[in-house]
Symmetry: C2
Subunit: 209 residues, 2 copies
Amino acid sequence: MKKENISDAVIRRLPRYYRQLTDLYTRGVVRISSHSLGQEMNITASQIRQDFSCFGEFGQQGYGYNVEELRAEIGHILGVDKHHHLIMIGVGNLGHALLQNFPFSQTGFTVDAAFDISPAVIDTTINGVEIYSMATLDSFLASHSVDVVVLTIPQSIAQETADHLISLGVRGFWNFTNVELSSGVEGVKFENIHFADSLLTLSYRIANP
Amino acid sequence: MKKENISDAVIRRLPRYYRQLTDLYTRGVVRISSHSLGQEMNITASQIRQDFSCFGEFGQQGYGYNVEELRAEIGHILGVDKHHHLIMIGVGNLGHALLQNFPFSQTGFTVDAAFDISPAVIDTTINGVEIYSMATLDSFLASHSVDVVVLTIPQSIAQETADHLISLGVRGFWNFTNVELSSGVEGVKFENIHFADSLLTLSYRIANP
DNA sequence: TAGATTGTTAATCGATTAACAATC
DNA sequence: TAGATTGTTAATCGATTAACAATC
C-alpha cells in the first residue's frame, strides 16, 4: 500500500476495472484471480496486482479477489459513492443527448440543473432535469455546491465560461468543446472529450494498418 | 526519419498538434520553433522534435517549422486528405447530435448515410445525411466502400452489430457504446469514446485533489 | 498439507528529456 | 559570419513485466 503519486495511466485503468467487475458481478461471478481478470481485459496479471496495490490490499493469497468487494473498493476509490453534484451548461443536441441517455446516477453524480440561453428550452425539463436561463447561473451557484460542470457549449465561449465558473468556485469540468481549456487556479480539473482527436486517431490507424 | 513502430502515445498527440497548428495558421502565424510550440502546448521542445522525426524532416535549422507546411504534413499523416467514407448506425439523440454538429468533413470524412430501425427517423435527413432502414444496410455495404462505421446504438447489440459489419468488410469503428469491443479479424480498428470512463476519471480527480 | 495466488521487490522495457553536432 | 534551431544520439526517468517469498 503506497497511495502517493498515482500515475495517470493507473487512474485511467480504474474505470475499466470498475466496468469489468460490474459485468462480472451481474454475471454472478463471485471470485476472480488477477490472472483470469487479466485474460478477460488483455492486461497482465502483474499489472493488475501492481495497480490495485497502489490503493490497498484487496485480495487474499490462494483465493484471488472477491468480485463484489473489489468492485465496491474501486467504486469507492473512484468516488461513485460520493454523490457528486453536477450541472450542465449548454443544452443543444449533445447536451440533450447526455441528459437523456447518460447514466449519471450510476456514475455517482446527481444532475441538479441545466442552463441555456435559448428561450426554446428554458423552463423545460429533460429526463427530470430542469433547464434554467443562463441569467440565473450565478445565483444558482451562490446557493448550491456544484462539483462538476458539463460544458456542452460552443467552442468560442468555452474558455471565458470556464474562467467565470472557476471564479465562482467550480473546480471540475467535463469539457466537450474540443478546445484545450486551462486555468491558473490551483485544484481545477478538466476532463476533455475530444471527439475530433478521437476520430483523427482512427483515421490514422485505418490509413496506416 | 524512422517510420517503424510509432507508439500509441505519439499517435494520440498528432491530433493535438494538428489542432494547435490549425489555430496558429488561422491566427496568421507563419513560422514556429519547437520551443514556442512546446510552450503553447505544455510539451517539451525535445518531445515535439522527437515526435515529428518519426515521420520525416519538416523543419529547418535556425528557422523552425513553417506552420502551413507542418499542418499539411500532419494532416496528411492523419489521413485528413484521404476522404474516408463513413456511415452511422443508430440515430438516437447522440447520433443526431453528431450528425448535426460534428465537423466530419473538416476531419476528412464524408458521411454517406445513416441507419436506424425507428420508422420515425427512417427516410428523413439530418444535416444532409439520409437515414435508411437497417434492413437496407447489407445491400448498401455491398455497393459502397465504407471505411468507418459510427456505432451510436445500444450497448446490448454493440458486439453483434460490430461482428456483422466486420463480416461485411468494415475495418474501422468509432464506438460510442461504452463497451469494449473486440474482433479476432486482422486489421480491425476500434476507437472508443467511453463517456463513463471519462467522467469517472474526473470523479477520482476531484475526490483526490 | 499442497496448490494457488497474493503483494512487493527487482529487472526490463519503453518513453521522455537532455545534449550536441550539423546547418540554415 | 553569428545566432538560432533542427534532427538525432545518449541519458534519464517512469511504467510494465517478471520473479518470488509470504500465506491463505
